[in-house]
Amino acid sequence: MANSEAAQATPQRSFMSSIAQLHHVREVNVLVALLLVGALISLASPYFLTTNNLMGVFRAFSLTAIMSIGMVMVIITGGIDLSVGSAMGLSSLVTALAFEAGLSMAASISAGLGVGLVFGLSNGLLITAIGLPPFIATLGTLSIGRGLMYMITHGVPVTPDTPELFSFLGQGYIGPVPVPVVLMTLLMVVFAVIMGRTRFGRHVYATGGNEQAARLSGVKTDRVKLSVYVLSSVIASIAGIIGFSRYLSAEPASGFGSELDVIAAAAIGGASLSGGAGSVAGAVIGAALVGVIANGVVLLNVNTYAQQAITGGVILIAVSIDVLRNRYSGGNA
């Protein structure tokens, strides 16, 4: 695999050495790219750097970012989870149906989280117990999830009445900061600590780095894999519940196709699809980069037909700079 990918496996080290190696760390590079893109946009549009706009941008990419936190853990084990979009969509749908059926808020949210759990266990067991390749297992559950959504909704959104408190989750603010952004930050910190500081986190990296060696050393690699798929799906269902709370409408096609965005966020943030490398913070920054570009092209009134081309081009340039910096800044070529 590309050397540059393998180079930043585990992003945490002692403080001194982390300062010394700062320019080797992928997420720092992507952060620099993000700031650069942001600076360019703010030069061209006075609206970009307003609190309102920035918070709006943060809220807009927060769901993708949240899902990418789960995804990056799966990717670090060397797997992939295509079903996040379905898990998110079905969770938001089931939460909505639960509200519609008159269940309490706690029960409705639990129902949504339960969907995530079922997705995660199905993926995890198909992969560890039966031995299906992750791509196929999660493609299967992706299809089944979508199918279920169509069967339930027949294409019609579900828009139940919900308590005021529930809509706080998606629509509220804490100070100037939208609640989804707060939740994203919280999840990011929690999982960054888990991945960086706990045994579980180390075992996730070890499983992706050399599954056999990890197993022989006593890491329960199957359990690790099962856990990351469950986490990924449950986190996706959290995103689904927040999304529903934001729009108070469970769309029959919500989440469709978002797997690619979520994987892209993780990959842009330094995760290697061959496993072993990646970080939670990187994934969130990756989502932010895409979100800022998407905001920028609208603010700058770029021709709508050209937006996608520009987004693609900017991502290529940003990640190329990162890769080339890594290559030439000595060390790990």
Binding site: A6, A9, T10, R13, S14, S17, V193, R197, T198, R199, R202, H203, Y205, A206, G208, G209, N210, Q212, A213, A214, R215, L216, S217, G218, V219, G276, A277, G330, G331, A333
Partner: protein, 500 residues
């Protein structure tokens, strides 16, 4: 000595191979039990059964402290007091040295997080014991093969185990580390820990062994205390030949013609863990066998990688007096260079492919017309080498990962020899191969030299270097620290150049 573990009538059958046939083994605490035998004899298989990696065929039994047990997996084996250093590296490259040593048993602090300070300090202690001066926070992927091997040793001894299995632990270690390990082993034995020691190095066997068991073709052919054993008997039992027949006399075929000359080779990017290789100059003559010696991490492999184009360098290389620009392995190969790498699984073999496909990868064009591979010619040539090198495999179609370690090594050698390069670089070529095969490899290198091939051999096995080199270059800390002709070279002078 108290009896610890007994294996009775253990058999293991793989598709097409009977690897073990009713083997008995009794292991005691407080002694070093050496397991010897030629490549593919079944040593590693027996050890994998003992640690639960493989399941034996029905019919045999394992007893620990007299109680029959079924060993489920390596974790269970460790709970029973058995730990192992595998023949093939089992480290996780993207974790640090300390994280590897304490993988799956990381110390936790009060908050349930990894107590990294304690973990690094504990790792430091183990590393100190092994006299390794690498930092516990170094990523293992940056270490050399030898250093990785030391990390594995560190891990195995840091478990509180009653029996430690070492499957060719010194294969990629140099003299110095091997000596350290020998000392460690003696310490462990003194603490009443049992050791199973697998090695192809005779000196080692006699130095640290208390008892020897010899396997051949999956059957126990001999078992005796070391005192009753001597070299002749051991070799005869292992390879069914006498020691004198094995190693012929040295004959130099070196000419005066300089084939390759390197001037001022310096690494472009040097790693924090690597030797800062600089200003290495030497000439290689037609038909010469040139030895490179040095301690682990002295930079020998890196010099070879520069010549082979897999590492960027400053300085110049010329072949036949003409400067050449070697920027990639393919360019080196076009210049007639071949390179048997020291890391056979990482760099030498495509594990998912068959013996035949691995063998022909270096010279596939020979069997091609219009890019179409003539598979029967490919297969026939592969069979020739299987026979010539005594590679133990049911057929050329066997997956390479199913071969024993030594036999895999032979395939790596075969794939380069078959290409007939003008310059053959071999880095630790006899790593893990048995004494019989080693003699055959030496004879092969000698014959190739006599046919005009120039050979560079890098080896940590001092007797080997002394036995077959026409001239020896000694590296220390990335610099040439001595050049010894065959007459000047002996154990003392070479070691002196390597250390002082």
């Amino acid at each position: 000595m108290p009896l610890f573990l007994e294996m009775d009538a253990i058999s293991k059958t793989f598709p097409g191979v009977k690897a073990l046939d009713r083997v008995d083994l009794a292991l005691r605490l407080g002694e070093v039990h050496v397991l010897a035998g030629e490549n593919g004899a079944g040593k590693s298989t027996l050890m994998k059964i003992m640690t639960g990696v493989l399941r034996a065929d029905p019919g045999g039994s394992i007893r620990i402290d007299g109680n029959e047990v079924v060993i489920r997996d390596p974790v269970h084996a460790r709970a029973l007091g058995i730990s192992i250093i595998y023949q093939e590296l089992a480290v996780v490259d993207n974790l640090t040295v300390a994280e590897n040593i304490f993988l799956a048993r990381e110390p936790k602090n009060r908050m349930g997080m990894i107590d990294r300070r304690k973990m690094n300090a504990d790792a430091r202690k183990v590393l100190d014991e092994l006299e390794m001066d690498i930092s516990p926070t170094t990523r293992v992927g940056r270490l050399s093969i030898g250093q990785k091997q030391m990390v594995e040793i560190a891990r195995a001894i840091s478990y509180d185990c009653r029996l430690i299995i070492m499957d060719e632990p010194t294969a990629s270690l140099s003299h110095h580390e091997a000596a350290t390990l020998a000392r460690i082993v003696k310490n462990l034995v003194a603490q009443n820990i049992g050791i199973v020691y697998i090695s192809h190095r005779l000196d080692e066997i006699f130095e640290i062994g208390d008892r020897v068991t010899v396997l051949r073709d999956g059957v126990t052919v001999d078992s005796a205390p070391i005192g009753e054993m001597n070299r002749e008997r051991l070799v005869r039992k292992m390879v069914d030949r006498d020691l004198e027949q094995l190693f012929g006399h040295h004959l130099s075929h070196a000419s005066d013609e300089v084939l390759l000359s390197a001037r001022g080779l310096t690494l472009k990017k040097h790693r924090s863990q690597g030797a800062p290789v600089r200003d290495v100059s030497f000439d290689l003559h037609q038909g010469e066998v040139l030895g490179f010696f040095g301690l682990v991490g002295s930079g020998r492999t890196e010099v070879m990688e520069m010549i082979f184009g897999s590492r960027e360098y400053e300085g110049s290389i010329s072949i036949d007096g003409r400067p050449v620009n070697i920027h990639a392995p393919s360019a080196a190969i076009e210049q007639g260079i071949g390179f048997v790498t020291e890391d056979r699984q990482g760099q030498g073999l495509v594990l998912g492919m068959s013996v035949r496909e691995n063998f022909s990868l270096t010279h596939l064009a020979e069997y091609c017309r219009f890019d179409f591979v003539n598979r029967s010619r490919e297969s026939a040539r592969c069979r020739e080498f299987i026979r010539a090198l005594g590679i133990k495999t049911p057929s050329p179609e066997q997956k390479i990962q199913n071969l024993s370690g030594g036999n895999q090594q032979k395939v790596v050698i075969a794939k380069w020899v078959a290409r007939k390069p003008r310059i053959l670089i071999v880095d630790e070529p006899t790593r893990g191969i048995d004494i019989g095969a080693k003699a055959e490899v030496h004879a092969l290198l000698n014959r190739l030299a006599s046919e005009g091939m120039s050979i560079i051999i890098v080896s940590s096995d001092l007797p080997e270097i002394l036995a077959i080199s026409d001239r020896i270059i000694v590296l220390k800390d990335g610099c040439v620290n001595g050049e010894l002709s065959r007459d000047q070279a002996n154990e003392q002078t070479v070691m002196l150049a390597a250390t002082a």
